[in-house]
Symmetry: C2
């Protein structure tokens, strides 16, 4: 009997935002998550319950007979714990989910290894639809690359092979695109709060700014005082931020950067 | 016979991105745009054609019998040209569309005046749906405020009164929310281009980042290396940007700002 790819037995090492969303997506698509490890019992149990797995907070109790181990930890913890994580399970297929960690981190630790990087922002309290999330895979063998692409393709329509070098640059671009963008929202939210104005009022502008770059390249989609080099407005805004030196400095540098890129 | 509000005769002073989008929206909703002024003939003609108006590049040829004059110029040009703009038309209703200019700019120039500020990012090549654009109005009389709210309500479901002080802060927040966000997209696009990676691959992340703050406050929606204070990743990224000192400096400052806001 030919077994389907969803029969792959999977262990999750880590139960953070990304692990939680990825494990749920795999579970919802019929994969068998057999165990979840997390340093904190609360996180381990919460995720294990949802995906009908067992859980542990002890790395030495992680089962040794899973086919695929997915490691999704904070980068520093991952590198530090690596020998302990893989001990006794060196012949399984190991992947991590980090944009920033090269595949070679596995090289002298296990025999079959790779990366499965879903490029998206994940929060535990929000379910995301994996179908349109680009997933980048890489492994040290053609067979495992094919296998990882097959796994990823069950979740998403956008599955790509990417080298560690490409993935590293994608991740850096994602930090600007997502984390720094979100911080611009957060700074605006703080400013509005200070003046008793609701953040919700910004949502149409946020949505249109995002939609616009589906059609127009970002540097051509730019509007506002910086690209017009409207010094009156820029100086007024800097003045308004005089009691927020950090925001003032960011305002000045980003405005200069916009002006330079477009002049 | 009671005349409908759409019979209001309107002149546009300015034919830039905002003027173009606002004039089209008014025209599409049945308002009569009778004339368009722009410093450049090309812009004046282009907009006038679409809204079936006459056009001029000479301020002294602007008709004197319109009921509503909408001025949408770069802030510096507006302030400088103001006496010339209103000459001979001091009894009409005048509004400007700028977030950053207080209503008082009109005070000793004309008798009836105000502001109609649609808070959105406008590009000429992209038609936006005004229905969900917040429009903020203000005037020096209750009757004209009612009238401006009625005009704005034909276009949008989100019409608010806002003082010049509130509008100024909304505009500053909008610069962070829209212009600076778009610049984060642009910086990412430049980085991807340098590594032969397509910007399109970022669109799901851009969309999710925008959607997320409909449900979760921005500072709670934050993810990525800065909020985890993952120094390994942050230092790698700074290293990767060593030949882009401007982006490197922005990366450093924004990451510090994220870390400080959330610690």
């Amino acid at each position: 009997m030919r077994r389907s790819i969803e029969d792959t037995s999977i262990v999750f090492i880590g139960a953070g935002n990304l692990a939680t969303n990825l494990a749920k997506a795999l579970y919802d698509n019929g994969f068998r998550i057999i165990q979840v490890y997390s340093r904190t019992e609360e996180s381990a149990r919460a995720l294990a319950q949802v995906v009908e797995a067992t859980y542990t907070t002890d790395l030495s109790s992680v089962v040794t007979d899973a086919q695929l181990y997915i490691v999704s930890l904070k980068d520093a913890a991952f590198v530090q714990l690596l020998p302990e994580i893989v001990a006794g399970k060196e012949n399984a297929l190991w992947v991590h989910t980090a944009g920033s960690i090269p595949m070679d981190v596995w090289a002298d630790k296990v025999n079959r290894y790779g990366v499965l990087y879903p490029m998206q922002t994940f929060s535990k309290q929000r379910v995301v639809d994996f179908q349109h999330i680009p997933i980048f895979v890489e492994s040290n063998s053609e067979a495992d690359t094919r296998f990882l692409k097959a796994v990823a393709s069950v979740l998403s329509k956008q599955v790509y092979e990417a080298t560690s070098e490409q993935r590293k640059n994608l991740h850096l671009a994602a930090v600007f695109t997502c984390n720094f963008t979100n911080h611009m929202y957060a700074l605006a939210a703080g400013l509005l709060k200070k003046h008793q104005l609701p953040f919700e009022i910004m949502l149409p502008l946020i949505d249109e700014t995002a939609r616009k770059v589906h059609e127009i390249e970002p540097h051509l989609a730019q509007t506002g005082p910086a690209i017009r080099y409207d010094e009156n407005v820029i100086n007024n805004h800097l003045q308004m931020l005089s009691d927020e030196p950090e925001m003032q400095e960011l305002y000045r540098l980003i405005s200069e950067s916009i002006h330079r890129q477009n002049s």
